[in-house]
Amino acid sequence: MIDDTFVLTVVVSMPLFILIGFTVFDVIRRNDLSGAHKVGWLVVVVLLPAIGTLLYLIARPFADPAQDLDTDDDGATALVDTLIRRERGELDDESFAAAKAELFSRADTG
């Protein structure tokens, strides 16, 4: 049942097509590339699927891993934000207590 065709289609072609799909999608979606560059990459990927995709993934710029901990879009990061500002001396005792009370009341009701 498990013959060469099965191995070739499932284990080799399928992930390759998914990778190519991701690459095409990524090239089109990126806004740091000019139209000509995008077309260039797409041509390379279509003409040389494996080599083109590998080259693209190597050449693709690296996304900065840094994340914001000091935002208020989640209670957890809002707490970190409050503590960071407290240690920087931006919050006096009163406003720090108020910020804390608000955060932890959210915790009690939620």
Partner: protein, 431 residues
């Protein structure tokens, strides 16, 4: 390129890597980063990944004696430093000269000012090298030097696929600091010993602020647990995993409290912890809201994923079992955790890299360049399938335990909930 390779390695070696950088624009200024050194080789790897600019690393000159390592060090343009305990001849004039030169080129320089790799949860008194490099470069005319502290927090540095966070603090503006420390007209160079001392103290304080710095492992564990409880209690979704960078920041914040306050904090955490262990449950499980029905959905999700990924995972095991065993064997060595933190990533990278190279070469011989490219594209996919499947088993097991724990403790639910609130309010009080 260096950063891309480091990022690939980091993502393979660790499970969750979170980076938090205090907002600051470090793109154009000459920059000297200082970091704690808990993990040997893993530290510079993580810092290359975490910092916006690839740093030139100041490292012990003995590394240049190892054949392959020498080429790597040359390639990343690391700067050798001679340590007295390494014996042999050598002065550090060349090191200082190349460091000044690097800052003159407005590059990013990186040093581990503790001078050694440590297996302690605290920062060793730091050496004066960082301050002397910065002041020396400034004296030779480099302006605008920023000194940036970076702290690396390992969940378990001796284990592959564990969690890591890197916290980068706000930079210290050297020009402003010198202006404040030195009266006009006095020597502001590295020969001014009082200046070197006070700048070193300032750097050390800033490093302690971002790096793990606890009095012992017990305290580190307890405060980390407390930080996790706190964050979970205010999170919008208490069932979501707590971000490790946030957890490590809050744990450090608690650790900087005066001793008597810290005692109260520890007590609150431990009282609640004891109540939890009486019920044989954890705070995460208690807050998970895991019901039988939710667990069942998780299980079904995992089964579907398994069916989809199984063919790839099977291939992944077939092509990767040799490097996997090599890494396992290295893990059995009885050496210090910091040494393992060096050996494990290196052996993993070498073993997997070699295995993939062999497969790639075979594919090249049989099918040409396209075949080799295909092999190099797919090998990581197969390995990822294995990793995803096995790590999902862990999450599934955690979910199962949460469900069991919650249904077991249903009777005591109200009491433990009261105890939890008490602990949280005591902790938030102490913040």
């Amino acid at each position: 390129m260096i950063r891309k390779i480091a990022s690939l390695m980091v993502r393979g070696v660790y499970r969750r890597v979170e980076v938090y950088r205090a907002p600051a624009d470090l793109s154009g200024d000459p920059q000297l980063s200082v970091s704690n050194h808990f993990g040997g080789f893993a530290d510079p790897l993580l810092l290359i990944y975490a910092m916006p600019r690839v740093p030139r690393i100041i490292a012990r000159d003995v590394i240049w004696k190892i054949p392959v390592a020498r080429s790597v060090m040359k390639w990343v343009r690391a700067i050798p430093v001679h340590k007295r305990e390494d014996k042999g001849p050598g002065s550090n004039d060349v090191m200082f000269a190349s460091a000044y030169e690097a800052l003159e080129e407005r590059s990013h320089l990186m040093i581990f000012p503790e001078g050694i790799t440590r297996d302690e949860p605290s920062i060793a008194p730091i050496k004066t090298g960082a301050a002397r490099i910065a002041l020396g470069a400034r004296a030779s005319g480099v302006d605008g030097i920023e000194i940036t502290p970076a702290g690396i927090h390992y969940e378990n540095k001796a284990a592959l696929r564990s969690d890591v966070s890197v916290l980068v603090g706000p930079p210290l503006d050297l020009d402003a600091a010198v202006e404040q420390l030195v009266p006009a007209g006095e020597d502001a160079g590295p020969a001014n010993r009082a200046l070197v001392r006070s700048l070193t103290d300032d750097i050390e304080r800033r490093l302690r602020h971002v790096a793990p710095d606890f009095s012992d492992w017990e305290e580190a564990r307890t405060l980390t647990r407390g930080a996790e409880m706190l964050l979970r209690s205010v999170a919008d979704d208490p069932a979501a995993p707590v971000p490790v960078a946030a957890r490590d920041y809050v744990a450090g914040y608690l650790g900087r409290k005066p001793d008597d306050e810290k005692r109260q904090i520890t007590e609150a955490i431990e009282t609640y912890g004891d109540a939890l262990s009486d019920l044989d449950i954890t705070d995460a499980q208690l807050q998970s809201g895991m019901t039988g029905r939710r667990f069942l959905w998780r299980l079904i999700g995992w089964l579907v994923l398994s069916v989809v990924l199984l063919p790839f995972a099977v291939v992944g095991v077939l092509v990767n079992w040799i490097p996997f065993l090599v890494v396992k064997a290295v893990g059995l060595l009885r050496v210090a955790p910091a040494v393992l933190a060096t050996l494990k990533p290196i052996s993993a990278i070498l073993a997997f890299g070699l295995a993939w190279g062999v497969v790639g070469w075979g594919a090249f011989r049989d099918f040409g360049a396209s075949g080799a490219a295909l092999a190099l594209l797919l090998m990581p996919v197969y390995l990822a399938a294995v990793i995803v499947l096995t790590e999902r088993v862990q999450t599934l097991w955690t979910a199962f335990r949460a469900w069991r724990g919650l249904s077991r403790s249903a009777r005591a639910d109200d009491i433990i909930e009261v105890q939890r609130r008490e602990a949280i309010s005591a902790l938030s009080e102490a913040l």
